[in-house]
């Protein structure tokens, strides 16, 4: 006789506490999974995880590096949350970041022998506009030509990467740079102010925090935010309510593009100080994980960006101490998202343990 031990039921309502607790569960499962992988590779799992997640942030420099990495991740993820909340799949933030970096960097090169307080704001603004314009392409194609935004935004990542490559090798390469694929160093007034001597943490973090606050305002306190959320929940309802769907799609893409562009310009005027081939270690893609891990919620995204930034630092430390490739960070990032999505099952379904009743045996 078949005895059913567990029963799975659909939940009638989604519990808010579980909604924000499952990301924590996902992080623990990731640590566990990572430990197993390290064990299989022949490392002591506890030691390896310590190198990955504790060593990098056990001094002041490490903590500053954590914030340096979390700054762009948080900024991009905040922008993406506008898109994802309204069911627009912008997965080309990496391209928007790079294009923002190109435009901002171009302006910085234009001003390379200028001094003045106005230089940095102009660069930052042009970077944001650059990212925004680049994000408008998939938005326009989606709204007016019915084109899949996932593929278009993604293809544009490669286009942006190749454009950057062309510029730093060719027309923008440093005239005194012995043909290295990089531009001149930006002038001092084109650089983000460093907050503490000897650390790399820079004023870009304030841009991120201000953006987080503004996003919270827009999403939760304005009619536009309401429209975005309704469209995400039900397109039919949004249509019925008479929302201008096309314009909204373009707006959310513009917001997320601007955020990615800001992140790009923050990187080149912050830690990097010039343009070269690799201005971003795939921040634009990783930010997608940050957005989900933070539950598309501004505060959640702040925490998520710190955790995911740690996987970058951990991979760097592990590369030095354990001689594993830096791509190891991506294993953890992928696992976090797997476990997070998987544990969402608990949100929508209840698992009841029925046990064995005497009369069934």
């Amino acid at each position: 006789m078949e005895v059913q031990l567990i029963k799975i039921e659909k939940r009638s309502d989604v519990s808010r506490s579980i909604y924000f607790l499952t990301p924590v569960l996902a992080i623990f499962l990731t640590l566990f999974g990572g430990g197993i992988i390290f064990y299989i590779l022949g490392f002591n799992p506890i030691e390896a995880l310590k190198f990955f997640f504790i060593t990098p942030i056990s001094d002041l420099y490490g903590l500053s590096e954590l914030l340096v990495k979390a700054t762009p991740l948080c900024l991009i993820a905040i922008g993406l949350s506008f898109c994802f909340k309204s069911n627009n799949w912008n997965i080309g933030a990496e391209g928007q970041l790079i294009f923002g970096g190109i435009v901002g960097g171009g302006v910085a090169l234009l001003f390379y022998n200028h001094d003045g307080f106005y230089v940095l704001p102009i660069i930052i603004l042009s970077g944001a506009i650059g990212g925004m314009l680049f994000a408008i392409i998939p938005a326009i194609l989606k709204t007016y030509f019915n084109t899949n935004e996932i593929l278009v935004s993604l293809m544009l990542v490669y286009v942006a990467k190749l454009l950057l490559d062309y510029l730093v090798v060719g027309p923008w390469s440093n005239p005194e740079g012995f043909n290295f694929p990089e531009t001149r160093q930006f002038s001092e007034s084109a650089r983000m102010p460093i907050l503490f001597d000897g650390l790399r943490i820079h004023a870009g973090i304030f841009i991120t925090l201000i953006t987080v606050f503004l996003s919270w305002l827009i999403l939760y306190k304005t009619y536009l935010g309401f429209q975005i959320k309704v469209s995400g929940l039900s397109l039919k309802t949004a249509k019925y309510a008479g929302y201008k769907g096309k314009i909204m799609i373009i707006i959310v893409f513009m917001i997320s593009g601007a955020c990615a562009g800001l992140a790009g310009v923050g990187e080149i005027t912050g830690p990097i100080g010039q343009l070269h081939r690799n201005i971003s270690p795939d921040y634009g893609f990783t930010a997608i994980i940050v957005a989900f891990l933070g539950r598309l919620n501004p505060v959640g995204i702040i925490f998520a960006s710190l955790i995911v930034a740690l996987t970058y630092l951990g991979a760097e430390t592990a590369q030095i101490f354990l001689q594993v490739p830096k791509y190891t960070g991506q294993v953890f990032q992928g696992m976090i998202l797997f476990f997070l999505l998987g544990s969402d099952y608990l949100l929508f379904f209840k698992i009841k343990f029925l046990g064995l009743k005497k009369n069934e045996l």
Binding site: L141, N148, L151, M155, F292, V324, G329, F338, L341
Partner: protein, 310 residues
């Protein structure tokens, strides 16, 4: 200037070779998508196939095991995607992205000890005929068996989808999972099978790269081919034969770009490299504009989660 016919033949042969991974991956993904599942993990499954194929070749010194093993590991990694999207009902787009990120990381971890090891020569069929027949020789002969398989695959896929009962079931599940389910079809099982098949084909596509095309292991060696394969499926409006044509066009652009560089044309290398991506966007716009055209073969339930109340 003399017109070297044999050179054109060699060029066409090279284009065919460079389109093989695209054909394999896109044909696999096409079946997956036809069942209503959108798996964005193609790049990740390909790179896992590439490293497992190469690693098995080094460890077992047996190319047959290497090829089979790459398909098997593609299948295993796609099982993660299947478990999540089909049993835990997760979002297809996010899960696929996670699969790609995970796959790239995992492949680099496994591949750490295989960097710099030279590949093994993969047996090519009829090498003599390739040399002795001008023009047609380099086109039809001197390829690996996987290439011949890849060029037959779109026709097999087409036959499967249009003429077989199982193919009909796959399409029914993709177009209307609810009615298929009401007809007694196990939608989840069909979708699982299609996901696993797609994974195996992506694994094979990866192995083609690491065993035959550039016979060695390089981190991130798929270099965006998985994403092109995904675009190809849309480009082909979910029709297998058009996948073949599309893959040849993209292969053509890749080879053309290499030759233009070699000839020293004064066009930036980067512009040529960007051509496949720009082309994909343009073609997507052209085919998507005509909503009837794109709806003809588009699986209606693509990317939607199917849940049957038990």
């Amino acid at each position: 200037m003399s017109f070297d016919l044999n050179f054109i033949g060699i060029l066409i042969g090279a284009i065919m070779a460079s389109s093989v991974p695209l054909i394999l991956a896109a044909s696999g993904e096409l079946i997956t998508e036809r069942s209503g599942v959108l798996n964005l993990g193609v790049e990740g499954m390909m790179i896992i196939g590439a490293i497992s194929g190469f690693a098995l070749m080094v460890v077992t010194d047996n190319l047959f095991f290497a090829v089979i093993g790459s398909m098997f590991s593609g299948l295993i990694i796609s099982l993660i995607f299947g478990l999540l999207t089909q049993s835990l009902l997760t979002n297809h787009v996010a899960t696929g992205l996670a699969l790609t990120i995970f796959g790239i990381g995992m492949s680099a971890m496994i591949g750490k000890n295989f960097v710099g090891i030279p590949g093994k020569e993969f047996p090519l069929l009829f090498p003599n005929l390739k040399e002795s027949i001008p023009f047609l020789g380099p086109i039809f002969f001197g390829h690996s068996i996987i290439l011949y398989f890849a060029f037959g695959l779109p026709f097999l896929t087409n036959y499967f989808l249009k003429k077989t009962k199982t193919g009909l079931i796959v399409r029914a599940v993709g177009d209307s999972p609810t009615s298929a389910s009401n007809q007694g079809i196990n939608v989840t099982l069909v979708r699982y099978s299609c996901i696993l098949y797609g994974g195996a084909m992506c694994g094979l596509a990866g192995a083609y790269l690491s065993l035959i095309y550039t016979p060695q292991w390089i981190e991130n060696m798929t270099g965006g081919r998985g994403w092109i394969a995904l675009a190809l499926v849309v480009f082909a409006t979910w029709s297998p034969i058009k996948v073949l044509i599309g893959a040849l066009i993209f292969g053509g652009i890749t080879i053309l770009q290499l030759h233009m560089q070699a000839v020293g044309l004064r066009i930036p290398v980067q512009l040529l490299s960007a051509l496949p991506y720009i082309m994909t966007i343009i073609v997507l716009v052209i085919i998507s504009r005509d909503s009837r055209k794109i709806k003809l073969n588009t699986p209606t339930s693509l990317g939607q989660i199917f849940y049957k109340e038990k």
